[in-house]
């Protein structure tokens, strides 16, 4: 039993005192009087205790009068129906990479709503209806080591509980998160998973039947860009796209390779695409925008355009980061984190967010981040509703929330994970 020692009281000498008189060495048992060390006036213990009790009673009276707190019930929180301002933030947890996770964050209330565990070096995506999250990840039998298990885990987004899983061959591409590490077919019938061993291929999965249907060799082309109900495109070393068409059973029924749509030697494109109204836009290291229409049986390439005016080029402005752009489809606006850099700066985050009109290709605004004390922006996402908000994840792990129409900063969520590198919303 711990003794009660009021602040400032000595533990030995004439002030020695303990409230528990039953303790063997209690001064109450040993002595009935204590002596004040200053004026040496003897005070009876009974008087002292009476005064202390009265004082205690006086100070505690309001508490005694208040009704007691009711008994509580332990519950598990359920999610309310989602809204377009919810965002899934993939934290790669680079400093302890076996512990990646996805945070669900509310861009209106600025509250964390829950978490999906994501294992090691995961791929992450949402189903077309937004009801399911898929995490393609790897677990080791002994935490950081041991037998490797590659698996896709399907999370019910209304509960954030894992609903089911599909075990993969140990071939999953372990790389930075993009839209194309794991992706659904347009009708959700198939799920595609990129493999790299380093030989490149992809797995075709049936989420309804919990099975791996096939593995398709992609001849060195990487990642899975889904289109339509049964097509998968992969980016090739030559700057071309390989498009594989599947039959109803998920097996290859045909393949075609496109003309090169960028020059990987002179100006490579980021593998992270930006979803557009009919496909994806791929930004190049030097600021070219390559829009690819995936709505047809084969990808169609629009004429590239540049984010940079000559003056911007002279100042070496360029896009960079991990998730290098976002399009608000109703507004027809493209948001890009931009920085001033050079050779090798393509992973450097943006010091400004530039806003472009997707039709005219004109720059509409520049939003510098320094006035908000924001670090370089590595990932960007925008909501698709009528009052859109823009999310920007920084090199310091903060996630900023902007009004996507005005650029007004609404909130900065500090330290939303360790390394938030992918932002997805339904």
């Amino acid at each position: 039993m711990a003794r009660y020692r009021p602040y400032g009281w000595r533990t030995s000498g004439p002030w020695t005192f303990a409230l528990d008189a039953n303790m063997p060495d209690s001064p109450i048992r040993r002595r009935t009087r204590v002596t004040h060390p200053i004026n040496n006036v003897a005070t009876s213990m009974k008087t002292w205790l009476t005064n202390a009790a009265l004082l205690s009673l006086a100070t505690c009276t309001p508490l005694v009068a208040a009704p007691p707190l009711p008994a509580e019930h332990l519950t598990a929180t359920t999610l309310s129906p989602g809204n377009p301002h919810w965002i899934y933030v993939l934290d790669e947890a680079f400093n302890n990479e076996i512990d990646a996770r996805v945070h669900l964050f509310d861009g209106d209330t600025y509250r964390r709503l829950g978490q999906i565990d994501a294992g090691f070096n995961p791929g992450f995506n949402l189903s077309p209806d937004g009801k399911t999250s898929v995490v393609g990840t790897t677990y080791f039998a002994r935490g950081s080591h041991g037998t490797r298990t590659d698996v896709v885990e399907f999370t019910d987004n209304t509960t954030l509980g894992v609903a089911h899983e599909i075990v993969l061959p140990a071939k999953r591409a372990m790389t930075l998160p993009t839209y194309f590490n794991i992706a659904y077919s347009q009708d959700s019938h198939f799920l595609y998973v990129a493999y790299v061993t380093p030989a490149a291929s992809f797995g075709v999965l049936d989420p309804a039947k919990n099975t791996v249907l096939d593995e398709i060799d992609t001849a060195g082309c990487v990642l899975v860009i889904p289109s339509g109900p049964n097509r998968v495109s992969s980016i090739c070393e030559s700057g071309r796209l390989l498009t594989v068409t599947l039959d109803a059973q998920g097996h290859e029924s045909g393949r075609a390779i496109s003309a090169a749509f960028f020059d990987p030697d002179k100006d490579p494109v980021f593998v992270q695409g930006v979803p557009t109204s009919d496909g994806f836009a791929f930004l190049s290291f030097l600021g070219e925008v390559h829009e690819v229409d995936f709505s047809g049986t084969q990808p169609a390439f629009r004429k590239p355009w540049s984010l940079l005016a000559p003056a911007d080029q002279a100042q070496s402005w360029r896009p960079g980061g991990v998730q290098v752009g976002a399009v608000q489809r109703k507004m027809g606006r493209l948001f890009v984190p931009m920085h001033r850099g050079g050779e090798g700066s393509h992973k450097q985050g943006g010091t400004e967010i530039w806003v472009f009109d997707m039709k005219t290709h004109q720059r509409l605004a520049r939003w510098p981040l320094a006035p908000h004390q924001l670090a370089d922006v590595l990932a960007i996402q925008v909501s698709q509703d009528d009052a859109p908000i823009l999310f920007a994840a920084t090199d310091k792990s903060d996630v900023a929330v902007f009004d996507a129409r005005s650029g007004q900063l609404r909130h900065v969520e500090k330290r939303l994970g360790q390394t938030p590198w992918l932002l997805l919303n339904p």
Binding site: N96, I98, L176, V196, T197, V271, G320, G341, G344, Q348
Partner: protein
């Protein structure tokens, strides 16, 4: 003149009294040996190399370098010569944790980890000898990420569709234990122009 003669005679005799021919030869020998050895001493010559380049640090392109390992840089040593600094010349295309800060070195994995047999490569310029070198960046595998001295430089690095030049892939992928711990840089040879 006589006084001058006496002065030189006195100093010569004094010198002869206090020194021997052997000590004179020994001192001379030390001086000659020191001069011969001077070019072999580990003197930092990179500043001269940079001057010869006509550039220097100000002319270097801005790279997304994180200098988390800068604390480990030995005081007075140039960062480009220090394997514990992200600025070390061999790290020009590295993206990960420096094994030199994790119990290993610039070209050896920390204890208990295994090097990846497959890798990506970069071409880095050594400012000391003015040569370009092909450098292999192997990952060290089997433990969770070291978390120390993160270094993110990407000179001539290419996206994943050029895998041999890509540092985003986990190159531990083919190891028995494919967990990523840290990265090393190993010179493969001089790059041919």
């Amino acid at each position: 003149m006589r006084s001058l003669d006496r002065l030189f005679e006195h100093s010569s005799r004094s010198l002869a009294r206090h020194t021997s021919r052997r000590s004179m030869l020994a001192t001379l020998g030390k001086l000659l040996t020191g001069a011969a050895l001077f070019p072999l001493l580990p003197v930092d010559r990179s500043s001269r190399a940079e001057a010869a380049e006509g550039g220097g640090p100000a002319a270097a392109p801005k790279t997304p370098t994180r200098t988390a390992g800068a604390k480990a840089t030995v005081e007075g040593k140039k960062a480009s010569d220090d394997p514990m600094s992200c600025e070390y010349w061999k790290y020009c295309a590295i993206d990960g944790f420096l094994c030199s800060c994790c119990g290993g070195s610039a070209n050896s994995c920390p204890p208990g980890t295994a090097p990846s047999p497959i890798t990506w490569i970069g071409t880095c310029h050594n400012p000391v000898d003015q040569r370009d070198y092909i450098v292999s960046y192997n990952d060290c595998c089997g433990k969770t990420s070291c978390g120390n001295c993160e270094c993110n430089r990407n000179e001539r690095e290419k996206p994943m569709y050029r895998p041999s030049r890509n540092n985003d892939l986990n190159w531990c992928m083919a190891n028995a234990d494919s967990n990523y711990h840290c990265s090393v840089s190993v010179i493969l040879g001089v790059a041919e122009k």
